[in-house]
């Protein structure tokens, strides 16, 4: 028996213990309801060089700090608002921008002001002013709105930690077992409700995702992003999903490395949108990183850890097609500690506003997600 059939049979025939993931949508719930609105949270680990991604081509000081980096992309930039240009490898994201489904936010940062990756990531994920490793902003948002989340990861990232509203999924590196073994296990668990329920739910998730997994490169970002789209599209799917992508710590050879990274990210986002299908219209995508990089190029054709960076908001639900955030300028006197892009807004205020509007959360709910923030009223969601 094929696994697909097995799962189908299980879904129809056997009685199954209640499973933890929400089943509200399991029977063809109306996709237009606000309860079906999805959030995809993409965490870029390593510190993205925003000046090479959302390039301030108009800024006269750009060339004096980083000519060898800027020159490599300047002629091929995709034009954005206010003289900014989007990196040429972000073709899907630019397409979205033109359809008003994407908006970069420039010069943002979390409250973190040192330059350690782990501390920076922990604080951004935690969404507070002091890191709490056991509570993340998305975990709290899921909790207050009684939604379920899924992280494409081996273990639950800090952003989704909280009162158990999120679980994880990741393609197995072990060879999948034969279907016969699963059938046998269902018999073995005939009087064990917990194990039987988990087995069934696990197989359903896997069946939804497996179409996306090519056998030799399962953990590739594009494959993971496609699987993410399929998981969101399935029955009793989670309301929020988290993806992670590393490799952004471009201390050397940045031009080549960043081209490759951005291409992978863009391919992944394209695959996500395709897999989401019409659900894209109900989706908010948030792409962020722990901090930016130095404005000046360093001695090995790269950049070092910095402060201000860019955030991408996207999705069919977004009012996009514009560049958000205030530009601080790149004159030496305008830099943070004389070396980094000066942050002009808190990355959490954009995430918080978009999230609140997207999920129609009352003020009191969003306040328990980001307790120390006064969120702006700028409409971000259409």
């Amino acid at each position: 028996m094929k696994r697909r059939e097995l799962v189908k049979m299980l879904g129809m025939g056997l009685s199954v213990a209640p499973v933890s993931m929400s089943t509200r949508l399991a029977f063809g719930g109306d996709k237009k309801e606000s309860s079906s609105r999805k959030v995809v949270w993409v965490m870029l680990r390593g510190g993205v060089d925003s000046l090479q991604t959302v390039v301030p081509a108009f800024d006269k000081d750009l060339m004096r700090h980083r000519r060898p980096l800027a020159e490599a992309v300047l002629d091929d930039l995709n034009p954005l608002d206010n003289g900014f240009g989007l990196h040429p490898d972000l073709t899907n994201l630019y397409d979205w921008y033109q359809k008003k489904e994407m908006a970069p936010v420039v010069a943002v940062a979390s409250p973190y002001r040192s330059r350690s990756h782990f501390e920076g990531q922990d604080l951004l994920e935690s969404g507070l002013t002091v890191t709490n490793h056991d509570s993340g902003w998305l975990g709290r948002a899921l909790e207050v709105s009684s939604k379920q989340g899924l992280a494409v990861a081996h273990s639950l990232p800090i952003s989704m930690r909280g009162q158990g509203n999120a679980s994880t999924w990741f393609p197995s590196r072990f060879r999948a077992a034969e279907d016969d073994l699963y059938s046998q296990l269902f018999k073995l668990y005939e009087s064990d409700d917990l194990l039987r329920g988990r087995l069934e739910q696990g197989l359903q998730t896997r069946a939804m995702a497996e179409g996306a997994m090519s056998s030799n490169n399962k953990a590739h970002f594009e494959a993971l992003a496609r699987a993410a789209g399929m998981l969101l599209n399935g029955d009793s799917s989670p309301s929020a999903l988290m993806l992670e992508m590393g490799g952004w710590d471009t201390h050397d050879n940045e031009v080549f490395r960043l081209n490759r990274q951005l291409k992978q990210l863009d391919d992944g986002m394209g695959a996500l949108k395709k897999a989401l299908g019409s659900l894209w219209q109900e989706t908010l995508v948030v792409i962020a990183t722990e901090f930016g990089r130095t404005v000046k190029v360093n001695g090995t054709m790269g950049t070092d850890h910095g402060t201000g960076t860019a955030l991408f908001l996207a999705g069919g639900a977004l009012k996009g097609g514009r560049v958000l955030g205030d530009w601080p300028g790149l004159k030496p006197s305008e830099l943070y500690e004389g070396r980094d892009l000066m942050p002009t807004s808190d990355v959490r205020s954009w995430i918080g506003s978009a999230l609140q509007q997207h999920w129609s959360m009352p003020d009191q709910q969003i306040t328990s997600v980001f307790p120390d923030l006064a969120l702006g009223q700028k409409p971000l969601i259409s």
Binding site: S155, S172, R175, Q184, L185, R198
Partner: protein
């Protein structure tokens, strides 16, 4: 009764029976466990934390040189390799040893004092904590372990105390200041527990008392813990209402010694131990008995564990708690007698199963209740892994024999039947390793 207790002894308190173990345990399961209260032995050919620091400092210097002048070869980062080998050394120790209660205790305290191997320096440093500060103090007074842990480079770096300076010191005037991270976690996670009756001032006072507890810099000769008087906030401190005179490094030590025997610590650690071994919601009488022993013996760990083992409530009810990924992995290797995999494969498998060594990512460590590891994806990962390894087992006996050697009197007729009727020995073994009897303890 002894037959059933032998199974509980091996599975609930240990890391699963090897063939033959149940027979030995059956004589006197409690006594069999008490004899396992020995210090776990590591293979000794791994560098200690001082050598790790030295190697890391040298590597960092090379990287700096490498970035300036591209002439040299890219420096070799030994840190990642050390991490994997040390992490795997603990796993294979537990797989190979006849005693496993001691390895369970090591794992418990290693998670209680969780450090994550993230970041250049923490990567090789994290696995040295359990080897140097926890294992040697596993069966003595808790205060010895507590002091050794809080003064260990891994903990000092992980929770930033190496950079902490008293607010009125000269060091503080040069841009650094007090860091409360370690002090907070000592009170919240390591001793009293979050509801242990301390307040913000206690945290700040403790942070001042341990300011100056740091690690050596690259230029210094012997690497490891160092007390820096220049960064230590002088003056007497008041923690939980008690005054501690200014005695330099001893001031913090005196506070930790009191914390180790504080009633809230006794209660919190006893509860955590009982929850770890016996049940997600352990019987109150058991927790109370352990707490009493803690207070009577001033936190003598061997005495507290002995109280647990000798308490009838620790043996009651059928196995309910699902094994953690790590316990599952180790017990499966023990039962099947598969050759112990190489270090990299071992660590990767644990990552895949959902419990990366030194990868909790939070000073609170991995959750210690089944709900943190009983997710659907986690169960499927176990099926896949079992499916892979059972192909490698050379079995000459029927798999139901292995099932009996492990679950003895607790093997259900249903599982025995399914294992016996499987289409192949391999599938029979796979079914047993995924059975409720093997998954629970």
């Amino acid at each position: 009764m002894n037959e059933k207790h032998a199974v509980i002894a091996a599975n609930r308190f240990g890391l699963g029976a090897k063939p033959g173990d149940l027979k030995t345990a059956q004589e006197n399961p409690g006594q069999w466990l008490l004899e396992q209260l020995t210090i776990p032995r590591f293979s000794s050919d791994h560098p200690d934390s001082g050598e790790v620091l030295e190697a890391f400092y040298a590597y960092r210097k090379d990287v700096k040189r490498f970035k300036q002048q591209k002439m040299m070869e890219k420096p070799d980062n030994i840190a990642g390799r050390l991490f994997v080998h040390m992490a795997a050394d603990t796993v294979s120790g537990a797989v190979n040893d006849d005693h496993t209660l001691n390895w369970r205790l090591l794992d418990f305290f290693s998670n209680h004092f969780s450090v994550s191997g993230q970041g250049g320096m923490m990567k090789p440093l994290a696995p040295t904590l359990e080897r140097e500060a926890i294992a040697p103090n596993l069966l003595g007074p808790f205060e010895n372990m507590l002091l050794a842990v809080e003064q260990h480079p891994a903990m000092l770096v992980y929770l930033d105390n190496d950079k902490s300076a008293g607010p009125s010191t000269g060091v503080a005037r040069n841009s650094r200041g007090l860091n409360e991270n370690l002090a907070r976690e000592i009170l919240e996670l390591h001793t009293l527990g979050v509801n242990g009756g301390y307040n913000l001032e206690d945290i700040q006072e403790l942070a001042k008392a341990i300011s100056g507890w740091s690690i050596t810099r690259p230029k210094e000769e012997q690497h490891g813990f160092v007390f820096r008087p220049a960064a230590h906030e002088s003056g007497s401190r008041v923690v939980l209402g008690k005054v501690y005179r200014n005695t330099g490094s001893n001031q913090g030590e005196a506070i930790l010694k009191d914390l180790a025997v504080h009633p809230a610590t006794a209660r919190y650690l006893s509860f955590k131990l009982a929850r770890h071994f016996v049940s997600d919601s352990p019987p109150e009488a058991l927790v109370k008995a352990m707490t009493d022993t803690w207070r009577q013996t001033r936190g003598h760990l061997k005495a507290v564990i002995t109280t647990m083992i000798e308490h009838p409530d620790a043996w009651q009810s059928d196995p309910v708690k699902l094994k953690s990924p790590r316990e599952f992995y180790i017990s499966a290797l023990r039962l099947t007698g598969l050759p112990v995999p190489n270090a990299r494969l071992m660590v990767n498998t644990l990552v895949n199963l959902g419990q990366a060594p030194f990868g909790a990512g939070s000073p609170a460590g991995y959750g210690d209740v089944a709900s943190t590891w009983d997710g659907p994806d986690a169960l499927l990962k176990r099926v896949d892994w079992v499916n892979t390894i059972t192909r490698q087992v050379q079995m000459n006996q029927p798999p139901v024999q292995l099932a009996r050697a492990h679950s003895g009197a607790l093997l259900s007729a249903h599982t025995a039947k399914m294992v016996s009727r499987a289409e192949s020995r391999q599938q029979g073994l796979a079914l047993y390793l995924m059975s409720p009897e093997f998954l629970r303890r």
